[in-house]
Protein backbone atom coordinates (compact mmCIF):
# COMPACT_ATOMS: atom_id res chain seq x y z
CA UNK A 1 0.00 0.00 0.00
CA UNK A 2 2.88 2.35 0.84
CA UNK A 3 4.19 1.79 -2.64
CA UNK A 4 0.86 2.82 -4.10
CA UNK A 5 0.65 5.96 -1.97
CA UNK A 6 4.19 6.92 -3.01
CA UNK A 7 3.38 6.36 -6.67
CA UNK A 8 0.17 8.39 -6.38
CA UNK A 9 2.02 11.23 -4.69
CA UNK A 10 4.75 11.30 -7.33
CA UNK A 11 2.17 11.32 -10.12
CA UNK A 12 0.42 14.30 -8.57
CA UNK A 13 3.68 16.07 -7.83
CA UNK A 14 5.02 15.73 -11.35
CA UNK A 15 1.70 16.88 -12.74
CA UNK A 16 1.31 13.68 -14.75
CA UNK A 17 -2.21 13.39 -13.33
CA UNK A 18 -4.52 15.97 -11.81
CA UNK A 19 -6.57 13.70 -9.58
CA UNK A 20 -6.17 10.31 -7.93
CA UNK A 21 -9.35 8.26 -7.60
CA UNK A 22 -9.05 5.78 -4.76
CA UNK A 23 -10.60 4.27 -1.67
CA UNK A 24 -10.63 6.18 1.57
CA UNK A 25 -12.25 6.10 4.97
CA UNK A 26 -16.00 6.62 4.88
CA UNK A 27 -18.57 7.24 7.58
CA UNK A 28 -18.96 4.54 10.25
CA UNK A 29 -17.08 1.41 9.23
CA UNK A 30 -17.39 1.92 5.50
CA UNK A 31 -14.98 2.95 2.83
CA UNK A 32 -15.79 5.43 0.13
CA UNK A 33 -14.37 6.77 -3.08
CA UNK A 34 -12.06 9.73 -2.56
CA UNK A 35 -10.66 12.15 -5.11
CA UNK A 36 -7.23 13.40 -4.20
CA UNK A 37 -5.76 16.49 -5.81
CA UNK A 38 -3.05 17.39 -3.28
CA UNK A 39 0.16 15.44 -2.71
CA UNK A 40 -0.14 15.63 1.09
CA UNK A 41 -3.58 13.95 1.04
CA UNK A 42 -2.27 10.79 -0.59
CA UNK A 43 -1.84 9.00 2.73
CA UNK A 44 -5.63 8.89 3.05
CA UNK A 45 -5.67 6.08 0.51
CA UNK A 46 -6.56 2.69 1.95
CA UNK A 47 -7.23 -0.77 0.60
CA UNK A 48 -8.87 -3.72 2.33
CA UNK A 49 -11.73 -6.17 1.89
CA UNK A 50 -14.35 -3.44 2.37
CA UNK A 51 -13.27 -1.72 -0.84
CA UNK A 52 -15.89 -3.30 -3.09
CA UNK A 53 -17.17 -0.26 -4.93
CA UNK A 54 -16.20 -0.24 -8.59
CA UNK A 55 -14.25 3.01 -9.03
CA UNK A 56 -14.25 2.72 -12.82
CA UNK A 57 -17.75 4.18 -12.71
CA UNK A 58 -16.20 7.66 -12.23
CA UNK A 59 -14.02 7.53 -15.34
CA UNK A 60 -16.88 8.35 -17.68
CA UNK A 61 -18.50 11.04 -15.51
CA UNK A 62 -18.32 14.55 -16.94
CA UNK A 63 -17.55 16.17 -13.58
CA UNK A 64 -14.57 13.87 -13.04
CA UNK A 65 -13.32 14.34 -16.59
CA UNK A 66 -13.34 18.09 -15.96
CA UNK A 67 -10.86 17.62 -13.09
CA UNK A 68 -8.18 16.56 -15.59
CA UNK A 69 -6.32 13.35 -16.21
CA UNK A 70 -6.96 10.81 -13.44
CA UNK A 71 -4.98 8.02 -11.85
CA UNK A 72 -7.19 5.27 -10.50
CA UNK A 73 -6.74 2.56 -7.89
CA UNK A 74 -7.77 -0.60 -9.64
CA UNK A 75 -8.27 -4.01 -8.05
CA UNK A 76 -9.29 -6.79 -10.45
CA UNK A 77 -12.97 -5.84 -10.93
CA UNK A 78 -11.97 -2.26 -11.75
CA UNK A 79 -9.28 -3.47 -14.18
CA UNK A 80 -11.87 -5.55 -16.01
CA UNK A 81 -14.24 -2.60 -16.26
CA UNK A 82 -11.43 -0.39 -17.55
CA UNK A 83 -10.63 -2.85 -20.35
CA UNK A 84 -14.31 -3.15 -21.23
CA UNK A 85 -14.70 0.65 -21.27
CA UNK A 86 -11.62 0.91 -23.50
CA UNK A 87 -13.05 -1.75 -25.81
CA UNK A 88 -16.13 0.44 -26.11
CA UNK A 89 -13.96 3.46 -26.96
CA UNK A 90 -14.69 5.24 -23.70
CA UNK A 91 -11.04 5.28 -22.58
CA UNK A 92 -7.67 5.38 -24.27
CA UNK A 93 -4.07 4.84 -23.19
CA UNK A 94 -3.57 8.58 -22.82
CA UNK A 95 -6.72 9.24 -20.84
CA UNK A 96 -5.69 7.71 -17.52
CA UNK A 97 -3.01 6.13 -15.34
CA UNK A 98 -3.93 2.81 -13.80
CA UNK A 99 -2.60 1.93 -10.36
CA UNK A 100 -3.39 -1.77 -10.34
CA UNK A 101 -3.93 -3.57 -7.04
CA UNK A 102 -3.11 -7.28 -7.18
CA UNK A 103 -5.19 -9.85 -5.24
CA UNK A 104 -2.34 -9.76 -2.68
CA UNK A 105 -2.89 -5.98 -2.32
CA UNK A 106 0.36 -5.04 -4.04
CA UNK A 107 0.79 -2.26 -6.56
CA UNK A 108 0.87 -3.43 -10.18
CA UNK A 109 1.87 -0.89 -12.77
CA UNK A 110 0.75 -1.07 -16.37
CA UNK A 111 2.35 0.51 -19.41
CA UNK A 112 -0.77 0.35 -21.50
CA UNK A 113 -4.34 -0.91 -21.61
CA UNK A 114 -3.10 -3.86 -23.64
CA UNK A 115 -0.87 -4.77 -20.70
CA UNK A 116 -3.93 -4.81 -18.45
CA UNK A 117 -5.67 -7.11 -20.87
CA UNK A 118 -2.82 -9.60 -20.85
CA UNK A 119 -2.64 -9.36 -17.04
CA UNK A 120 -6.35 -10.25 -16.92
CA UNK A 121 -5.67 -13.34 -19.01
CA UNK A 122 -4.12 -14.74 -15.85
CA UNK A 123 -7.07 -13.59 -13.75
CA UNK A 124 -10.12 -14.65 -15.69
CA UNK A 125 -13.68 -14.05 -14.56
CA UNK A 126 -14.98 -17.06 -12.73
CA UNK A 127 -18.55 -17.33 -11.60
CA UNK A 128 -18.57 -18.63 -8.07
CA UNK A 129 -19.77 -22.22 -7.65
CA UNK A 130 -22.18 -20.89 -5.02
CA UNK A 131 -23.94 -18.72 -7.61
CA UNK A 132 -23.95 -21.43 -10.26
CA UNK A 133 -25.81 -23.59 -7.77
CA UNK A 134 -28.36 -20.89 -6.91
CA UNK A 135 -29.05 -20.26 -10.61
CA UNK A 136 -29.35 -24.00 -11.21
CA UNK A 137 -31.79 -24.23 -8.32
CA UNK A 138 -33.97 -21.41 -9.62
CA UNK A 139 -33.99 -22.94 -13.10
CA UNK A 140 -35.14 -26.29 -11.72
CA UNK A 141 -38.39 -24.80 -10.40
CA UNK A 142 -41.56 -24.96 -12.52
CA UNK A 143 -41.96 -21.90 -14.73
CA UNK A 144 -44.83 -20.35 -12.78
CA UNK A 145 -43.04 -20.77 -9.46
CA UNK A 146 -39.91 -19.20 -10.96
CA UNK A 147 -41.98 -16.22 -12.06
CA UNK A 148 -43.46 -15.79 -8.61
CA UNK A 149 -39.97 -16.09 -7.11
CA UNK A 150 -38.75 -13.14 -9.16
CA UNK A 151 -41.89 -11.07 -8.68
CA UNK A 152 -41.31 -11.46 -4.97
CA UNK A 153 -37.56 -10.83 -5.12
CA UNK A 154 -38.10 -7.67 -7.16
CA UNK A 155 -40.98 -6.46 -4.97
CA UNK A 156 -38.79 -4.30 -2.67
CA UNK A 157 -37.32 -2.40 -5.65
CA UNK A 158 -38.39 1.25 -5.59
CA UNK A 159 -36.36 2.19 -8.65
CA UNK A 160 -33.73 4.35 -7.07
CA UNK A 161 -31.50 3.20 -9.95
CA UNK A 162 -28.54 2.81 -7.60
CA UNK A 163 -27.71 -0.36 -9.56
CA UNK A 164 -27.44 1.75 -12.68
CA UNK A 165 -25.46 4.50 -10.96
CA UNK A 166 -22.96 2.01 -9.52
CA UNK A 167 -22.35 0.23 -12.81
CA UNK A 168 -19.31 1.41 -14.77
CA UNK A 169 -20.88 0.16 -17.99
CA UNK A 170 -24.19 2.04 -17.56
CA UNK A 171 -22.60 5.21 -18.84
CA UNK A 172 -25.26 6.41 -21.30
CA UNK A 173 -26.05 10.02 -20.52
CA UNK A 174 -29.64 9.40 -21.58
CA UNK A 175 -31.05 6.09 -20.38
CA UNK A 176 -34.03 4.39 -22.03
CA UNK A 177 -35.66 4.18 -18.64
CA UNK A 178 -36.04 7.96 -18.67
CA UNK A 179 -37.68 7.89 -22.07
CA UNK A 180 -41.18 9.12 -21.30
CA UNK A 181 -42.92 10.00 -24.52
CA UNK A 182 -44.39 7.45 -24.32
CA UNK A 183 -43.32 6.13 -20.93
CA UNK A 184 -41.21 3.11 -21.83
CA UNK A 185 -40.70 1.61 -18.36
CA UNK A 186 -43.41 2.47 -15.80
CA UNK A 187 -41.79 4.64 -13.13
CA UNK A 188 -43.99 3.60 -10.21
CA UNK A 189 -42.50 0.79 -8.18
CA UNK A 190 -45.10 -1.81 -9.00
CA UNK A 191 -44.55 -5.37 -10.16
CA UNK A 192 -44.67 -4.72 -13.89
CA UNK A 193 -42.32 -1.75 -13.82
CA UNK A 194 -39.87 -3.55 -11.57
CA UNK A 195 -39.86 -6.62 -13.78
CA UNK A 196 -39.38 -4.63 -16.95
CA UNK A 197 -36.64 -2.49 -15.46
CA UNK A 198 -34.61 -5.45 -14.28
CA UNK A 199 -35.01 -7.33 -17.56
CA UNK A 200 -33.90 -4.26 -19.46
CA UNK A 201 -30.96 -3.49 -17.19
CA UNK A 202 -29.69 -7.05 -17.41
CA UNK A 203 -30.14 -7.28 -21.17
CA UNK A 204 -28.36 -4.00 -21.85
CA UNK A 205 -25.38 -5.47 -20.01
CA UNK A 206 -25.51 -8.87 -21.67
CA UNK A 207 -22.15 -9.71 -23.17
CA UNK A 208 -20.60 -6.61 -21.56
CA UNK A 209 -20.98 -7.16 -17.83
CA UNK A 210 -17.69 -8.02 -16.14
CA UNK A 211 -19.25 -9.56 -13.04
CA UNK A 212 -18.05 -6.95 -10.52
CA UNK A 213 -21.29 -7.15 -8.50
CA UNK A 214 -21.29 -3.40 -7.92
CA UNK A 215 -25.01 -3.32 -8.76
CA UNK A 216 -25.77 -5.84 -6.06
CA UNK A 217 -23.67 -4.10 -3.43
CA UNK A 218 -25.26 -0.75 -4.29
CA UNK A 219 -28.83 -2.02 -3.96
CA UNK A 220 -30.29 -0.65 -0.71
CA UNK A 221 -32.85 -3.48 -0.66
CA UNK A 222 -30.37 -6.30 -1.27
CA UNK A 223 -32.16 -7.57 -4.36
CA UNK A 224 -30.07 -10.38 -5.92
CA UNK A 225 -30.06 -8.68 -9.30
CA UNK A 226 -26.49 -9.82 -9.94
CA UNK A 227 -27.91 -13.30 -10.48
CA UNK A 228 -29.49 -12.08 -13.71
CA UNK A 229 -26.12 -10.81 -14.93
CA UNK A 230 -24.34 -13.98 -13.88
CA UNK A 231 -26.88 -16.13 -15.63
CA UNK A 232 -26.46 -14.08 -18.81
CA UNK A 233 -22.70 -14.41 -18.45
CA UNK A 234 -23.10 -18.18 -18.30
CA UNK A 235 -25.34 -18.16 -21.37
CA UNK A 236 -22.90 -16.00 -23.32
CA UNK A 237 -20.03 -18.26 -22.37
CA UNK A 238 -21.98 -21.39 -23.24
CA UNK A 239 -23.27 -20.18 -26.60
CA UNK A 240 -20.63 -17.83 -27.93
CA UNK A 241 -17.42 -19.17 -26.41
CA UNK A 242 -15.11 -17.94 -23.70
CA UNK A 243 -15.92 -14.64 -22.13
CA UNK A 244 -13.87 -11.72 -20.84
CA UNK A 245 -13.36 -8.06 -21.68
CA UNK A 246 -11.14 -7.74 -24.73
CA UNK A 247 -9.70 -4.77 -26.59
CA UNK A 248 -9.78 -6.27 -30.05
CA UNK A 249 -12.76 -8.56 -29.90
CA UNK A 250 -16.24 -7.06 -30.29
CA UNK A 251 -18.83 -7.57 -27.55
CA UNK A 252 -20.69 -10.85 -27.86
CA UNK A 253 -23.95 -9.15 -28.67
CA UNK A 254 -22.53 -6.64 -31.11
CA UNK A 255 -20.92 -9.37 -33.15
CA UNK A 256 -22.02 -12.73 -34.51
CA UNK A 257 -20.88 -15.98 -35.97
CA UNK A 258 -22.82 -17.30 -38.98
CA UNK A 259 -22.58 -20.73 -37.37
CA UNK A 260 -24.15 -19.77 -34.04
CA UNK A 261 -26.16 -22.71 -32.78
CA UNK A 262 -29.62 -22.66 -31.24
CA UNK A 263 -32.39 -25.20 -30.93
CA UNK A 264 -35.53 -23.11 -30.76
CA UNK A 265 -35.90 -21.34 -34.11
CA UNK A 266 -38.14 -23.10 -36.61
Amino acid sequence: MNELIKKAASLLESGAVKVVIGYGKGSTDRTQAIFITKVEDCNQLIFDSRCIQNLAVYLTKAEIKRMGKPAIMAPLPVLRSIVQLAAENQLSDESLVVLGVSPESNLVEFESLAAIESYLQEHKIEIDEKYRKIIEEIKSKPVSERFQYWVKELEPCFKCYACRAACPLCYCTRCTVESNQPQWIPVASHQLGNLEWHVMRAMHLAGRCTDCEACYHACPMGIPLHLLNKSLLQDVEENFGSYGPSLNKANSLSSFNPDDKESFIR
Binding site: I135, I138, K139, K141, V143, S144, E145, R146, F147, Q148, Y149, W150, V151, W184, A188, H190, Q191, L192, L195, E196, V199, M200, A202, M203, A206, G207, L227, L228, S231, L232, Q234, D235, V236, N239, F240, S252, L253, S254, S255, F256, N257, P258, D260, E262, F264, I265, R266
Partner: protein, 148 residues
Protein backbone atom coordinates in the same frame (compact mmCIF):
# COMPACT_ATOMS: atom_id res chain seq x y z
CA UNK B 1 -68.25 -19.93 -21.17
CA UNK B 2 -66.82 -19.20 -24.58
CA UNK B 3 -63.76 -21.04 -25.76
CA UNK B 4 -60.40 -19.39 -25.14
CA UNK B 5 -59.12 -17.64 -28.26
CA UNK B 6 -55.38 -17.00 -28.02
CA UNK B 7 -54.19 -13.50 -28.83
CA UNK B 8 -50.94 -13.70 -30.73
CA UNK B 9 -48.64 -10.89 -31.79
CA UNK B 10 -46.18 -11.52 -34.61
CA UNK B 11 -43.07 -9.39 -34.99
CA UNK B 12 -41.86 -9.96 -38.53
CA UNK B 13 -39.30 -8.46 -40.85
CA UNK B 14 -40.36 -6.52 -43.89
CA UNK B 15 -38.28 -8.42 -46.44
CA UNK B 16 -38.94 -12.08 -45.81
CA UNK B 17 -41.65 -13.04 -43.39
CA UNK B 18 -43.98 -10.13 -44.13
CA UNK B 19 -43.72 -10.95 -47.84
CA UNK B 20 -44.12 -14.63 -46.95
CA UNK B 21 -47.30 -13.89 -45.02
CA UNK B 22 -48.49 -11.89 -48.00
CA UNK B 23 -47.88 -14.93 -50.18
CA UNK B 24 -49.93 -17.06 -47.80
CA UNK B 25 -52.83 -14.73 -48.50
CA UNK B 26 -52.39 -14.51 -52.26
CA UNK B 27 -52.05 -18.30 -52.37
CA UNK B 28 -55.43 -18.42 -50.60
CA UNK B 29 -54.09 -20.60 -47.82
CA UNK B 30 -56.37 -20.37 -44.79
CA UNK B 31 -54.80 -20.07 -41.38
CA UNK B 32 -55.76 -19.13 -37.84
CA UNK B 33 -57.01 -15.57 -37.42
CA UNK B 34 -55.51 -15.10 -33.97
CA UNK B 35 -52.39 -13.37 -35.13
CA UNK B 36 -51.73 -9.65 -35.38
CA UNK B 37 -48.74 -8.90 -37.54
CA UNK B 38 -46.38 -6.02 -36.81
CA UNK B 39 -43.90 -5.23 -39.54
CA UNK B 40 -40.30 -4.25 -38.80
CA UNK B 41 -37.47 -3.24 -41.11
CA UNK B 42 -35.45 -6.23 -39.90
CA UNK B 43 -35.41 -8.78 -37.07
CA UNK B 44 -32.24 -7.07 -35.90
CA UNK B 45 -34.37 -3.99 -35.32
CA UNK B 46 -36.80 -5.64 -32.89
CA UNK B 47 -36.19 -4.39 -29.36
CA UNK B 48 -36.44 -7.28 -26.91
CA UNK B 49 -38.61 -5.11 -24.65
CA UNK B 50 -41.36 -5.13 -27.27
CA UNK B 51 -41.95 -8.81 -26.53
CA UNK B 52 -42.58 -8.01 -22.88
CA UNK B 53 -44.75 -5.07 -23.88
CA UNK B 54 -46.87 -7.43 -25.98
CA UNK B 55 -47.34 -9.72 -23.00
CA UNK B 56 -48.23 -6.81 -20.73
CA UNK B 57 -50.79 -5.59 -23.28
CA UNK B 58 -52.51 -8.94 -23.11
CA UNK B 59 -50.86 -11.17 -25.70
CA UNK B 60 -50.93 -14.89 -24.89
CA UNK B 61 -48.29 -15.80 -27.42
CA UNK B 62 -45.67 -14.18 -29.62
CA UNK B 63 -44.14 -15.05 -32.97
CA UNK B 64 -40.83 -13.52 -34.00
CA UNK B 65 -39.89 -14.24 -37.56
CA UNK B 66 -37.45 -13.05 -40.19
CA UNK B 67 -35.18 -14.04 -43.04
CA UNK B 68 -33.25 -17.28 -43.00
CA UNK B 69 -29.58 -16.96 -42.00
CA UNK B 70 -27.52 -15.63 -44.92
CA UNK B 71 -30.66 -14.16 -46.52
CA UNK B 72 -30.90 -10.91 -44.56
CA UNK B 73 -31.66 -7.85 -46.66
CA UNK B 74 -29.14 -5.97 -44.53
CA UNK B 75 -26.62 -8.87 -44.66
CA UNK B 76 -26.33 -9.51 -40.93
CA UNK B 77 -29.41 -8.23 -39.08
CA UNK B 78 -30.77 -11.69 -38.45
CA UNK B 79 -27.39 -12.95 -37.20
CA UNK B 80 -27.38 -10.21 -34.59
CA UNK B 81 -31.00 -10.95 -33.80
CA UNK B 82 -30.21 -14.62 -33.33
CA UNK B 83 -27.56 -13.86 -30.71
CA UNK B 84 -29.95 -11.49 -28.99
CA UNK B 85 -32.73 -14.06 -28.89
CA UNK B 86 -30.41 -16.76 -27.55
CA UNK B 87 -29.40 -14.59 -24.59
CA UNK B 88 -32.83 -13.05 -24.08
CA UNK B 89 -34.49 -16.46 -24.07
CA UNK B 90 -32.06 -17.62 -21.39
CA UNK B 91 -32.88 -14.59 -19.24
CA UNK B 92 -36.65 -14.99 -19.66
CA UNK B 93 -36.36 -18.66 -18.81
CA UNK B 94 -34.49 -17.84 -15.61
CA UNK B 95 -37.10 -15.24 -14.70
CA UNK B 96 -39.96 -17.64 -15.20
CA UNK B 97 -41.45 -15.91 -18.22
CA UNK B 98 -42.87 -18.75 -20.27
CA UNK B 99 -40.57 -19.19 -23.27
CA UNK B 100 -42.93 -21.78 -24.76
CA UNK B 101 -45.17 -18.83 -25.59
CA UNK B 102 -42.59 -17.25 -27.87
CA UNK B 103 -42.07 -18.92 -31.22
CA UNK B 104 -39.05 -17.89 -33.26
CA UNK B 105 -38.89 -18.84 -36.90
CA UNK B 106 -37.27 -18.11 -40.24
CA UNK B 107 -39.88 -17.70 -42.95
CA UNK B 108 -38.73 -16.55 -46.38
CA UNK B 109 -40.80 -14.63 -48.93
CA UNK B 110 -41.37 -17.91 -50.78
CA UNK B 111 -42.62 -19.86 -47.78
CA UNK B 112 -46.28 -18.91 -47.63
CA UNK B 113 -47.22 -22.39 -46.54
CA UNK B 114 -44.64 -22.42 -43.78
CA UNK B 115 -46.05 -19.16 -42.38
CA UNK B 116 -49.51 -20.70 -42.17
CA UNK B 117 -47.98 -23.70 -40.45
CA UNK B 118 -46.02 -21.57 -37.96
CA UNK B 119 -49.14 -19.59 -37.03
CA UNK B 120 -51.37 -22.66 -36.79
CA UNK B 121 -48.96 -24.61 -34.64
CA UNK B 122 -48.35 -21.62 -32.36
CA UNK B 123 -52.09 -21.17 -31.92
CA UNK B 124 -52.39 -24.85 -31.03
CA UNK B 125 -49.56 -24.57 -28.49
CA UNK B 126 -51.03 -21.47 -26.87
CA UNK B 127 -54.50 -22.99 -26.83
CA UNK B 128 -53.06 -25.87 -24.81
CA UNK B 129 -51.16 -23.53 -22.47
CA UNK B 130 -54.22 -21.34 -21.91
CA UNK B 131 -54.34 -17.59 -21.31
CA UNK B 132 -51.16 -16.06 -19.89
CA UNK B 133 -52.64 -15.19 -16.53
CA UNK B 134 -49.32 -15.08 -14.65
CA UNK B 135 -48.11 -12.12 -16.65
CA UNK B 136 -51.53 -10.50 -16.89
CA UNK B 137 -51.77 -10.43 -13.09
CA UNK B 138 -48.50 -8.55 -12.88
CA UNK B 139 -49.38 -6.27 -15.79
CA UNK B 140 -52.73 -5.36 -14.24
CA UNK B 141 -51.31 -4.88 -10.79
CA UNK B 142 -52.29 -1.22 -10.59
CA UNK B 143 -55.85 -1.80 -11.76
CA UNK B 144 -56.28 -4.40 -9.08
CA UNK B 145 -55.04 -1.97 -6.45
CA UNK B 146 -57.52 0.67 -7.63
CA UNK B 147 -60.43 -1.74 -7.36
CA UNK B 148 -59.77 -2.60 -3.73
Amino acid sequence: MTEFEPKIVAFVCNWCTYAGADLTGTSRIKYAQNVKIIRFPCTGRIDFMLLLKAFSEGADGIIVSGCHPNDCHYTSGNFHARRRWITFRGLLDLMGIDVRRIQYSWVSAAEGAKWADVVNSTVTTIRELGPYTDYAKVANYLEKEANV
